[in-house]
Amino acid sequence: MIRLLGVTKSYTVGDQVVPVLKGIDLEVHKGEFVAVMGPSGSGKSTLMHIVGLLDRPTAGEYELNGASVLQLPPNHLARLRNQNIGFVFQNFHLIPRMSALRNVELPMVYAGVPRAKRRARAMELLEMVGMVNRAHHLPNELSGGQRQRVAIARALANDPAILLADEPTGALDQQTGGEILRILRDLNAAGRTVMVITHDRNVAQAGQRIVHIVDGEMVREEVLHEPR
């Protein structure tokens, strides 16, 4: 499903080239739950942005569903992102002046889904994450855990094959974080490919496989459970 080959990324700061990713080879199969683990600043988020088509690598190859995507024009990438990838961020990244419901509807707005269908689907998703009674609340009227549930519902709006979560429990207490991880595991159990990025061993253990990254390099791979 996801196949990275020799992906590098470097930033130029002043006249200095700072390498952030130094040749990543990574394969994620359909229906897998992969954790990417590493210390802060090791390049995990950068990797996720590249996988999520928000950023382009400096060099390397990226195949999504068997097709090379790095040459695609921006509008095509936007459509792939909209249809195939759901993001969950550490800081939830809900749009502040929009209700939970409107936030969940937004990916469907960009997909051109008609209003009534959109609303029904959004309510369904909020129901699934246990937030249906908060549908008309603004993000700042919700707790961290509740916001992350809404964010997960939004990530699922267009039924993407891949869910990318960058430190999804990073801003939550242990118990709430555990609940969020359970939701992600359930989604994976239902067949969705999930990639979670974390610096926390306890979170990483939710996955079937842990990919360790240090200083922009994959140093080790750990298989915890065989994929179903």
Binding site: H49, D55, N75, R81, Q83, Y110, R154
Partner: protein, 402 residues
Amino acid sequence: MNLDETLRMAFASLASNKTRAFLTMLGIWIGVASILAIVAIGNGGKALVIGAISSGSQRNVIQIVPRELVAPGLPQPGQVLSIDDSDLAIAASFSGVESVNETFYGTAIVQSGDKSDNVTLFAGPADLDSLARFVVVRGRMFTPEDVLSHRNVAVISQSLANKLFGSGNPLGAVITLSGVPLEVIGVAQPEQASLYSLVMGSDNLYIPDTTCEDIFPNWTASEMDVVAKPGINVQSLANRIVLALNIHAGDPSAFADSSGLLASVAALIGKVTTILTAVIGAVAGIALLVGGVGVMNIMLVSVTERTQEIGIRVSLGAKKRDIVFQFLVESMAITSLGGVAGIATGLAVGVLVRVFTGIPASVPWPVGVLAFVFSASIGIVCGLYPALKAANLNPIDALRYE
């Protein structure tokens, strides 16, 4: 993403900061309102002038005067100073002419008791009231019989009556003109406020032409009033008569059509009004420009404030086009609302001016439509740069932006 949804988002976003949206709108509002108010008043002023002229020239009376009387000065040797019977005959020979009358006018002094006043004296036939455009408001006009019998009767203008008699009754009183007593039989007022009455002054004395000839035997007619038949092109008839008279006098500029002269003065005033309106309107346009700069400024602030939102939208699959559209529609919503409010205010000012000053202020509808299109375009022009800036943000930087 469809337009309906984009509009919904734009209004939701504006509603989330109503004060700011209102103040930004106000810039466009004031600009459009002042331009429309100026156009309305300028238009009204022009209509007033043109209305005054048409009240002096729309009728079928051609007023022909010797050129010297139009532009006073020392007469040139051989210049025509008056109208004689041969001139009247030439005018009467044209087929489109209904009748030809002579009127005399000049300045004179009238006395009543110990009071005296400088007046403009008009002498003519019994229908002098229609030729010289006045209506008798008290008493009566002199009759054809008065004219035939050389009666010593006079109609005086209201302002002359006020000067000579104050609040007393002028009817039946006797005034003297050049030592000749005249009975006041009527008080007159100008037909309507017109440029003609303005030029002609207000202390007027009207007497039968026969009486005038008795008092001033050496006076000659100073104006020929030619009445055209119905359906005749008055202007062309006037031109032909003036040409014939000038040929007869052997001087290409001996006579002139004085109503044409008034019309050309009016045209000049109309032109000046248009230029003034344009100049003041351009100054008001600067207000609109400043309003547009305000819109651009606020849109730039809005883009900066919503950097993270833009990153989130891109991560959810928004295309560049969607982001550009979102901000463009938002700035167009501001300027269009401002434009509509400005048009309404401008029209309201026009109505107030009309009610309180009588100037027929009005905005031609194409100007209103143009104002709306223009204010919406300001939204596009001033929103484009901020919108492109938003769409070209790097989504990673936008997401990290706090």
